[in-house]
Amino acid sequence: MKSTSPIFLITTPESDPVVFYLSKWSEEVIEEAQNKGFNVVNLPREKASLAEFEGHMAKMKPCFVMLNGHGSPSKIAGHKNGIILEKGRNEKVTKGAIVYARSCFALKELGEACVSSGAKGFVSYSFPFMFVSDPNRSAHPMKDELAAPCRITSNMIPVSIIKGQSISEAVMKAKDRMDELIGFWETRRDLPEASIVASCLYWNKLGLGLRGEADTRIA
């Protein structure tokens, strides 16, 4: 019998410490998607490649796609910085999907190209995505208190979309939470690095945005 579950495709490369953190953070998102009845297609490590990504996009036609990987204005990478999505090359694979790219710089050029090619919506960042981390916790990103504010707020976006909220509601909710956490971290006196954590939240908030119709949501 053919499954009618909505399909959520996610890439989780682990080829350097930054994407390792992003991919480990994604476990919360995957769990939420499974709890909401999504068929989750995870492309981990080496599977976060151009061939696997294009193949699964064509075959599975996910309604929601989350990319963890380094970005530039026109492209997003997977494992070991292999390009998996690029303006002028394969943005058409996103047709019909909502895309959330936890990637630097990808919002404007690539986001607009994907939406022009039929993506229902594209949420990402205009600037480099930043977070503070504790190297003593590098093997266990979920236990890193310094990284937690950026994990929580960047995971809120896909979780809100999975719960059926529109892309603009997801972005606004995340920005509201960023404001709350900025207020909390900039007044902490127990950690000398707290203000730097607050500045990362502010920077990510400045860069976060969307392309496509604001009320787009998973049908």
């Binding site: 350097d16 930054v18 190297p135 690095e193 203000s195």
Partner: protein
Amino acid sequence: MMAATEDEIKIVVERLKVMPRSVNLNIGGFGSFSRDELIDAVSGKTEIGELVVEMQMAYLRSFKERAKQ
């Protein structure tokens, strides 16, 4: 990206000096940087340094605005 002024560089270096040496700032595809690497980058006006100054000054301006409210 606007070139950082000498005053901005001084302000950001002083802020970074407060960070413990044991903490990293992760800047997307540019990588992970320790406190001392960040101070060197800002002082040396490298691409990363300019980005860190821009980010820190944006935050400090917003802090000032919020403090007025």
